[in-house]
């Protein structure tokens, strides 16, 4: 029994491969996070045992513009010195008509919120899109210069994995 469980966990564990893409887009800004890591346990036939525990290094943000990068990392927005990790931990993964969805906690900028991320899994690649409201996580304000920064950011995630 113990060994069969161990075999299952090994077979459902995936390693994040190179070539992943964590993009965010809005009217302004748009960009990518270039550092992504974590543990992925996923078996489409055993979703109860599947789990995502992944994180992004917010200091790896790249908007393509140096001044925007600096501002995004500053205490006006992501405050990467104080909050060096953006983390998603799933609590439940379920099947949907279009694929799957992972419900869990997104921990960003010291704020934890429940979110659901729809995703698909094909050709050993997880693909998902969802929207994050930065104000919900107290990332930047809504007045002054910050009013020009979009509040809703569309996240497009593509993560190839290997056994």
């Amino acid at each position: 029994m113990f060994f069969s469980a161990f075999t299952f966990i090994r077979s459902a564990s995936w390693k994040i491969a190179d070539g992943y893409s964590i993009k965010f887009s809005s009217s302004d800004p748009s960009g990518v996070f270039t550092s992504f890591r974590g543990d992925i346990i996923f078996d489409a036939n055993n979703l109860g045992a599947s789990k995502f525990d992944v994180s992004i290094d917010p200091a790896s943000i790249n908007t393509g513009n140096g001044m925007k990068n600096t501002k995004a990392k500053s205490d006006q927005y992501l405050d990467v010195t104080k909050y060096p990790v953006i983390k998603f931990t799933s609590s439940k993964i379920s099947k949907t008509a279009a694929g799957f969805e992972a419900a869990g906690t997104l921990d960003m900028h010291g704020v934890q919120k429940q979110i659901t991320i729809p995703f698909t899994f094909a050709n050993n690649t997880f693909t998902g899109s969802f929207t994050v409201n930065r104000v919900d996580y107290q990332v930047g304000g809504t007045t002054g210069m910050a009013s020009h920064t979009a509040t809703d950011l569309k996240m497009d995630i593509s993560v190839p994995v290997t056994k």
């Binding site: 993009k23 393509g64 513009n65 140096g66």
Partner: protein
């Protein structure tokens, strides 16, 4: 007369190109960024030669319409234009596959001053009869 301005624009453009390429090589070797998709020998040479030829053309127009007394203001205008143009590298967003965009302005902003610097430096070598 236009040939003199053409020659001055071309020679100053070549000199500014050489300075730009040398600066680009030193900058990239010192700090390591790779912006060759945007800034390379072709774009540096093309941009600086074009800018110097444009300064030459405007200088010739001043001469043609007998506006030499405005030469001081013209030089000031070119200097201010060079300075104002730095807003462009500060504000553009580079392709997202390019790392360290923070280092991009440091590479290209000095180059924005090379055309005016080269053109006005060699100006005394070109006798335009005034």
């Amino acid at each position: 007369m236009i040939q003199i301005f053409f020659k001055q624009g071309l020679i100053s453009g070549i000199l500014a190109s050489i300075a730009g390429v040398i600066y680009m090589k030193i900058y990239q070797n010192a700090l390591g960024p790779d912006f060759h998709k945007i800034v390379n020998i072709g774009t540096v040479a093309g941009g600086t030669i074009f800018a110097c030829m444009l300064i030459g053309l405007m200088s010739w127009l001043l001469e043609k319409f007998n506006l030499q007394k405005l030469k001081g203001w013209f030089n000031l205008f070119i200097a201010i234009l060079s300075f104002a143009s730095i807003i462009y590298p500060l504000s553009i967003s580079l392709p997202l596959d390019i790392q360290n965009p923070e280092l991009f302005p440091g590479l290209v902003i000095p180059m924005h001053f090379f055309p005016a610097l080269a053109y006005f430096t060699i100006d005394p070598f070109f006798n335009k009869g005034n």
